[in-house]
């Protein structure tokens, strides 16, 4: 067999065998990526007017993270510019935030500040607490272990919608996330009392009293329990 024929045969053999081996490997990589992409896709929004972040993400050819940062910057600039006018109009703010978070579902800063921009009453914000809630809820779906988003959702319910019972339940749910601060539970207890759920509040303060490592927090819990007894 001449050198040329040998090289030809070897190249053909490598081509065919590599192609056949890459198919199961490709399926394996796809399976590994599936769980992550499913979690993100759960927050996938429906059709929106104009281009959606999901379409942009598909077309970004891998520059989705950079585009998300640029859209978030655009949202900040848009908010800042509108805030300086006499009659602020935040009509596009929700859309910009949605695109930024579709492009990068883990862009936590956009959920956190974005919900504040959206929920705050005009002229300071868009006065759209429902949109703010939807934004944070999508953030929670994409980042289920990040307790701060539960805090932000709870605050929208508490400050803007005055749903004290709901807010208390959200703070309580958030307090069970990994790394959540103890004050999430104390906040849940306080707000539950404000919403008229005295028994829930008592149980939560009791739990805070039993579990808190900080003496000051325990003393505060005891004080609240005494007040509820009166």
């Amino acid at each position: 067999m001449s050198r040329r024929t040998w090289g030809y045969a070897l190249a053909a053999a490598i081509l065919v065998s590599s192609f056949l081996v890459q198919i199961p490997l490709r399926r394996r990589i796809d399976r590994a990526n599936e769980s992550a992409s499913l979690a993100v896709a759960a927050g996938k929004p429906g059709e929106t007017v104009g281009i959606s972040g999901w379409k942009l993400r598909d077309l970004s050819l891998g520059f989705d993270g950079l585009l998300a940062d640029l859209y978030w910057t655009r949202a900040v600039q848009y908010y800042g510019r509108a805030r300086l006018t006499k009659r602020p109009n935040y009509r596009e703010l929700g859309r910009l935030l949605r695109i930024a978070t579709d492009l990068d579902p883990h862009l936590l800063v956009a959920y956190r500040f974005g919900s504040i921009f959206l929920a705050e009453r005009p002229p300071g914000g868009a006065g759209e607490p429902q949109q703010a809630m939807q934004l944070v809820q999508r953030g929670i779906v994409a980042n289920p272990n990040y307790w701060r988003l539960w805090q932000d959702w709870g605050f929208v319910e508490y400050w803007d919608l005055h749903n004290y019972s709901v807010a208390a339940r959200i703070f309580l749910a958030g307090s069970n996330r990994p790394g959540a601060e103890i004050w999430m539970k104390t906040l849940a207890a306080s707000i539950a009392a404000k919403g008229g759920e005295i028994e829930t509040s008592r149980l939560l303060w009791m739990e805070v009293y039993k579990t808190a490592a900080n003496a000051q927090v325990r003393a505060s819990a005891l004080e609240h329990l005494r007040k509820l007894e009166r």
Binding site: A11, I14, L15, Q22, L25, L61, F63, D69, T73, H106
Partner: protein
């Protein structure tokens, strides 16, 4: 055999680094990384993220330009300048020539990516007081970019064996676009309700290299490390696909009539 291949690879590397346009591309990449500092200052809470996204994005973008630019003229230039005949008149097999050229180009890309990465980390160090373990994610992302570039240059090499530089650039770019949108193509195929379209989409899905699989820049911006298993599987995938592309190039080049 190995000596012949390494000689061709080294010669290709030396030939490529003489190209001054590569230096300007490296410079642009570093400048773009530096621009991230300014971009981050007009936003809220994304200065570091912007630096990673823009810095690694620039390395990837300019790396792709280099891979296409140096890959497309590879064989064509050798034939045009008639230097190929000198090489092949010596005891060098055609497949050794192609493999050596490919390895030389990958080496060129690795060195250029290394320089851009050094510039990126220098800017990162200026911006942050010290490096943290999460910054390792950036290094992983650079490794994945290099794997992607190795495939792109393989595609460029393949087209370089059959076409002119302009058409090779166009074909390589088209393959890159298709390879980046494979998941969507598969999805469209299945959504079309047509068995033929579904089959075609599945066929394309397995024939074209999946460039989107190497995109971990967004995760690196959040400091998310790639699991060790993924590092191995993606490296193996890139190696297999590079083998496919180089083998296909060799098969074409072996058949090519040189006058």
């Amino acid at each position: 055999m190995f000596q012949r291949i390494s000689s061709i690879a080294l010669h290709t590397f030396k030939q490529s680094v003489r190209d001054k346009i590569l230096y300007s591309l490296v410079l642009f990449a570093v400048l773009m990384s530096a621009a991230a500092v300014l971009m981050g200052s007009i936003s809220i809470g994304v200065t570091q993220m912007m630096l990673v996204n823009l810095g690694l994005g620039a390395i990837r973008f300019f790396g792709l330009l280099m891979a296409i630019f140096i890959g497309i003229s590879l064989v064509w230039r050798e034939i045009e300048r008639r230097t190929l005949y000198n090489v092949l008149s010596k005891p060098v097999a055609r497949w050794e020539f192609i493999l050596g050229k490919y390895l030389g180009l990958v080496l060129t890309l690795a060195v250029n990516t290394g320089i851009m990465t050094a510039g990126y980390f220098a800017i990162l160090l200026v911006q942050t007081p010290r490096l943290v373990p999460e910054d390792l994610a950036s290094l992983e992302a650079v490794y994945f970019i290099l794997l992607e570039l190795a495939l792109v240059v393989g595609v460029a090499l393949f087209f370089s064996c059959i076409s002119s530089p302009a058409l090779s650039a166009l074909f390589t770019f088209c393959v890159f676009i298709i390879g980046s949108l494979l998941t969507d193509i598969l999805w469209f195929g299945h959504e079309s309700q047509s068995a033929a379209m579904g089959w075609l989409a599945t066929f394309l899905y397995y024939v074209f290299p999946d460039f989107s699989a190497f995109n971990v820049v967004s995760g690196a911006a959040h400091g998310t490390l790639v699991p060790g298993r993924a590092l191995v599987s993606h490296s193996l995938y890139a190696l297999l696909y590079a083998a496919i592309l180089v083998s296909a190039s060799i098969l074409i080049f072996e058949e090519r009539e040189l006058q």
